[in-house]
């Protein structure tokens, strides 16, 4: 991310970086289009397609009915026959509406056909809690997708990665899910104007440290960074890794870091039990067993649906405090 990022000190919010990434893909790939609910004139309820309808017209920015099975089906059929669809699933919570089309068709078609089908399809969807949208508009369900051979899954934590991962996803010849975060829409970062890719399957060390590796997913990267100072005060120099891609998962970067720090912690916003952190922890303890001075710790949401009340959602959401507390527990400090 280093080079491209430093050329131009232009800052963009996450939401605009998404727009720019999609826009450049649409210019580059004539068979690319965007399809989803209110992606057209409304520019998405999250605003990240603003302007695209006016620029590309209704044939390439396609408002669909409220039909998630239809949207994914459209993407499967169209991608298998020469298009490069960018599908919009609005809230990730709606993924259950079309999980069959995702899991049994999109993910498996190539394999079932012995490699004869290629599905260059990108799906954007919005995860995360934090603005009191309650149990059906706040979930982080990436673990379901990560367990699904045939799709890739990335989760950009910042504007730079959002644009770069969208471009990489759209250029990839496989179904790629780009799981966005609604609390991050206004987050600014330096974003080059030109097209660039953030490689799918590569984690990024966003802060170096020597005492503990914190692997954070999506928005939790910022919470991990916010925990760095308090941890320092406890004498723990944390290395923070932005996982970025959960399928493929960048095992190497994680293991290399652990060899140095001997301690690891995983943070995701998803429910901790059965979340992707389990996969990471299982891998790390297996591959770095001899380096570990402490068990791999995990921070995630408690085992409950996301509550509506601000008083409860605050308690529900993993944050820097929870990270510090978990580190203290794990290290007994």
């Amino acid at each position: 991310m280093s080079e491209a990022k430093e050329q131009k000190p232009r800052k963009l919010p996450y939401v605009a970086a998404i727009t720019e990434g999609v826009r450049q893909v649409l210019i580059e790939q004539e068979n690319a289009f965007v399809a989803g609910e209110d992606v057209g004139q409304a520019g998405s309820v999250f605003g990240y397609y603003q302007g695209l309808f006016d620029e590309f017209g209704k044939d390439r920015i396609i408002d669909t009915p409220i039909s998630e099975k239809g949207i994914i089906g459209l993407g499967v059929g169209a991608s298998a026959t020469g298009c490069r669809p960018i599908l919009d699933l609005m809230f990730m919570d709606f993924i259950g509406e079309c999980m069959d089309e995702i899991a049994n068709q999109m993910a498996k078609m190539r394999f079932m056909f012995g490699g004869a089908a290629t599905l260059p399809v990108t799906v954007l969807t919005m995860a995360g809690a934090g603005i009191n949208l309650a149990a059906q508009h706040s979930q982080s369900l990436e673990a379901w997708l990560a367990h699904l051979p045939g799709v890739k899954v990335v989760m950009p934590s910042n504007a730079y990665d959002a644009k770069g991962l969208i471009i990489a996803a759209a250029r990839d010849d496989n179904p790629v899910f780009v799981v966005l975060n609604k609390m991050s829409l206004a987050l600014q970062a330096e974003v080059p104007e030109e097209m660039y890719e953030v490689p799918i399957g590569k984690a990024e060390i966003v802060r170096e440290g020597k005492d503990m590796t914190i692997l954070a997913i999506g928005r939790m990267v910022h919470e991990a960074l916010a925990a760095v100072e308090p941890l320092k005060e406890l004498g723990v120099d944390a290395e923070v890794i932005d996982v970025r891609s959960i399928q493929p998962f960048d095992t190497d970067t994680a293991i290399e870091s652990l060899r140095k720090t001997h301690r690891g912690l995983i943070v995701h916003e998803a429910v901790r039990f059965g979340g992707f952190g389990g996969e990471i922890a299982a891998q790390l303890q297996e591959l770095a067993f001899d380096y570990l001075d402490a068990p791999i710790a995990r921070v995630g949401a408690p085992f409950s649906p996301v509550p509506f009340s601000p008083a409860l959602e605050k308690v529900y959401l993993p944050n820097a405090e929870a990270i510090v507390a978990e580190v203290r527990k794990t290290l007994g400090i």
Binding site: E37, A42, I66, L133, A134, Q136, S304, F308, A311, L312
Partner: protein
């Protein structure tokens, strides 16, 4: 119209509508004042539907609602105080603050929940109707859903099963012409959602959703049919929402014109109904004023209740995920 209907019913229909309207208007204000967090989908403009349908239902009958659910709960007998408390996220709310606007509900009133999932309601209402038939009660279950929701597979499967099993179920489509910001013509190639009924083997009826008597009468027939064991009906009510998709003024999009809104406002279900009630002498202006005054007082009290109520204690987070098992 009014010939057939008793003054009592006319007054109740009016009261229901006013209660919804005033609740929603105040809820919108409280949201804009930053008192109500999250997303609020208001029912202003569509009051005749919930009111006309619910007039036929008792607390034993069930309904499923939508993201735009306050009106349904109010018409079903919901208390303002516990509703406002829920919208505020307070422990005294109907859902102990866990649901909020999109999941507001009350099982005792047979209100099986607003629903954040478009199309989430019909399969549940069908299930409740199945239960009614299975338990041999005379309860009826009504699914409210939007024009947009009629494109979801869940509606299709629920409608097919309800017709097949001849369930005591009514599907009430509140066709307000838009799914979020998408006009109906851009989400389905039919003008009448009711046209879908024939494909399931049930009657499809179109009714003016701005006319509470028309809704009342059509609902009467559909609910009677359901209660008699003759199966479901798809009742489409043409309506309009006076506020934006979410909140009052929404995202400021120009997906519909001011003229269109004004046209529909001329057909405001409440104003028109009040004029007729005055005309036929069912209500005096004074009586109407009293309805508003009482409603306003109740709202004021309810908001105070919500303001004064405590937020849920953090420990409550992990409650209600599971029921503690009970032996049968």
């Amino acid at each position: 119209m009014a010939k057939k209907l008793s003054n009592k019913i006319l007054k109740e229909l009016h009261l229901r509508m006013v209660r919804i309207r005033r609740f929603e208007e105040e809820a919108g204000k409280m949201m804009e004042n930053g008192k109500i967090p999250g997303a609020l989908h208001l029912y202003v403009g569509q009051e005749a539907i919930a009111s006309g349908v619910m007039q036929h239902l008792s607390e034993l009958d069930q309904i499923t609602s939508t993201h735009r659910g306050h009106g349904h709960l109010i018409a079903k007998g919901g208390e303002f105080s516990r509703m406002f408390a829920e919208l505020y996220g307070k422990a005294t709310g109907y859902c102990r603050g866990k649901g909020g606007s999109m999941h507001i509900s009350n099982m005792d009133l047979g209100m099986l929940g607003a629903n954040g999932i478009v199309g989430g309601g019909p399969p549940i209402a069908m299930g409740a109707a199945f239960s009614n038939k299975f338990r041999k009660t005379k309860q009826v279950a009504v699914a409210f859903f939007g024009d947009g929701a009629s494109n979801e597979g869940s509606f299709h499967e629920a409608a097919n099963m309800a017709a097949l099993f001849k369930l005591p179920c009514v599907f009430v489509c509140e066709n307000n012409g838009y799914g979020e910001y998408t006009p109906q013509a851009n989400h389905q190639a039919v003008v009448d959602v009711a046209d879908r009924a024939a494909g399931y083997g049930m009657p499809g009826v179109v009714v003016d959703g701005m006319d509470v008597i028309a809704v009342y009468e059509a609902a009467e027939e559909a609910i009677k049919r359901a209660r008699a064991g003759d199966g479901p009906t798809l009742l489409e009510c043409k309506t309009y929402r006076f506020y934006d998709h979410v909140g009052v003024r929404g995202m400021g999009l120009t997906y519909r014109t001011d003229e269109e809104l004004e046209e529909w406002k001329k057909r405001d279900a409440i104003k028109g109904f009040e004029e007729r009630l005055l005309q036929i002498g069912t209500l005096t202006q004074k009586a109407i004023d009293a309805v508003y005054a009482n409603t306003n007082a109740e709202i004021e009290e309810a908001i105070q209740f919500a303001e004064d109520s405590p937020f849920p204690h953090p420990d409550e987070l992990l409650e209600d995920v599971y029921s503690v098992r009970s032996e049968v």
